[in-house]
Symmetry: C2
Subunit: 342 residues, 2 copies
């Protein structure tokens, strides 16, 4: 039995906490809002973020950083990207330099274009000499709707670290007969796949809004991963990583699910509404809208060709008609697939 | 304007003939049954295989091999795998050794385990000394439901040949603002992807029948391509090819479409029916049932690990329960994704 602290009481953090609890570990979830944490503890249900799933009594909940990590041998960081730096800085004084961290957050930080694991390093270890070098960190990602994991539907993910022993340990802790974990040694690639897929999810929504079919959707996903992998390679990741669970796998889930926010935004735009109109009617954030800007910025900085991302950007932010964008993608110069996927 | 003969009056042959006609070429479709061909010519509709799509007067139809290929500069072979050898042998005496062929058939021949392009070579050129060496042949494949191509919905495919000039010529002939064509130099990989994806489509159906979700479906597709690529590599194809349009792309279309026969068979089996029961109630053939046997045979012959294919085989032909098969897949030994997709 390992004691594990899960930082973040959203749907994904809670689903993973449940999984680890079922695997026989002692799990403590930390949430930022004491009143909400107290009510979840009382109801035994994370009624805002993982409705209808009963939390066992063995699962502990707290809003105190120190209590959350007491005796923990692993920290699971499950905080949304835009709150990540602030939250982790609250933990910097209580988390020792030896505590390994597994990040399960998907996204890119707006101001810095950093990946979640880079933010975690910086937030936890910036006051410590040589601390960033010493911290053992892993990421875990893949096609994994939280609701399905909580309902024990079969799910397969990947955990990646530069420290192979840590990846193997996380594989052992998380794996069950309903949750299969592969290890990987390219954490940057695994993280970038989870963030960049949302640009293609927007494009998939636009295709749906235009009334296109399965041929267009499948080609979009396949070609989408090619350009994501191209950018990833320029950022130091391995191309092959993007064809795995955290790249293509996650992209497929995002694009076939009828519930995705990014796909919804794309679909409404494909039907002729403007980005402002669509966003004005939404309570939650569609991460891909920002990621499109970030990906385009990174592509330009590194001289990487990303035709789909470029067209999504023009449709979202430059008022280009979706039909025209598709046409421009279809009639681009004649290419060889074999030169790009090799 | 190029004169093109399309051999085979099924849905896919007809949709491609329409596309080529719209691109300004002179196109002749050949069908095996004179009475049916005459009626299609009269009605201007391929009412059995591409219902509701009007055929322009410029599109010619014939049941005479000699008439079909008169003046043709390219032969499009669109005959289902199990009729391919017999049909092409009827053309052997009228097709000269210089006429290039593009094969658009997906499958593996049951008796020989040959790919369609190999069958075409053998059928057309076996009486000619050195003929098989001389014949220029290409394949064209990818995510492409015929109905969507006929309705001019955007579609993206790949054409592959060992002769780069032929691949580029086919790209030029077929490409339009609704039909994008990439070239490729690995015809074996392109053909194998189109055939082997049907095993994974059966597995995807089984998952649906068991009530699983998007996480399982996405992982299945991602891991499915890994083992298909492994077999492909053993058969002389390149792994990267399987991550492209003819591999993952085609697999996605097959698995997200609600209409696929292979997915249907899998779904009924996932719900608890036996293969015999399901097949007895079907008029059309589910190609993947045979391909599962062929793929397993090839995997054993070449010593390739294909865990998903093996479990599909056991469920279809050995009476194994689908739930048990999934469990066995989930709890296999712990693996590294990075070692396999590299």
């Amino acid at each position: 039995m390992t004691t594990i602290a899960v930082i973040g009481d959203g749907g994904w953090g809670t689903a993973l906490a449940l999984l680890l609890d079922r695997n026989g570990h002692r799990v403590r979830i930390w949430g930022a809002f004491p009143d909400y944490v107290a009510e979840v503890r009382r109801r035994r249900e994370n009624f805002k973020f993982l409705k209808g799933v009963q939390l066992p009594d063995s699962l502990e909940l707290t809003a105190e950083p120190e209590e959350a990590i007491r005796g923990a041998a692993l920290l699971v960081s499950a905080v949304p990207t835009r709150f990540l730096r602030g939250v982790l800085e609250r933990f910097a004084s209580v988390v020792g330099p030896k505590l390994p961290v597994v990040s399960v957050t998907k996204g890119i930080e707006e101001a810095t274009l950093w990946r979640p694991s880079q933010i975690i390093h910086a937030a936890l270890d910036r006051h410590r000499n040589g601390g960033m070098r010493g911290r053992r960190i892993a990421v875990l990602s893949g096609p994994s709707h939280a609701e399905e994991v909580a309902r024990r539907l079969p799910t397969t993910v990947v955990t990646a670290s530069r420290d192979p022993a840590l990846a193997k340990r996380i594989q052992r802790l998380f794996m069950s007969d309903r949750f299969r974990v592969y290890t990987h040694d390219d954490p940057a690639g695994v993280e970038l796949g989870g963030a960049l897929k949302n640009v293609i999810a927007l494009a998939a929504g636009i295709c749906d809004g235009l009334g296109f079919g399965d041929n267009a959707k499948a080609a979009l996903l396949t070609r989408g991963i090619v350009e994501i992998a191209r950018l990833g390679a320029a950022l130091g990741a391995r191309r092959a990583t993007f064809h795995g669970l955290s790249g293509m796998g996650d992209l497929i889930t995002t694009c076939i699910s009828p519930h995705g926010r990014n796909r919804y935004v794309g679909m409404e735009i494909g039907r002729g509404r403007s980005l402002e109109e669509v966003l004005a009617g939404m309570v939650m954030v569609a991460e891909g809208v920002f990621t499109t800007r970030a990906a385009r910025m990174l592509a330009r900085r590194h001289g990487v060709e990303m035709p789909i991302t470029e067209e999504v950007f023009r449709v979202l932010f430059r008022g280009k008609s979706p039909a025209r964008a598709v046409r421009d993608l279809m009639v681009r110069g004649r290419k060889a697939e074999s030169e790009e996927v090799r």
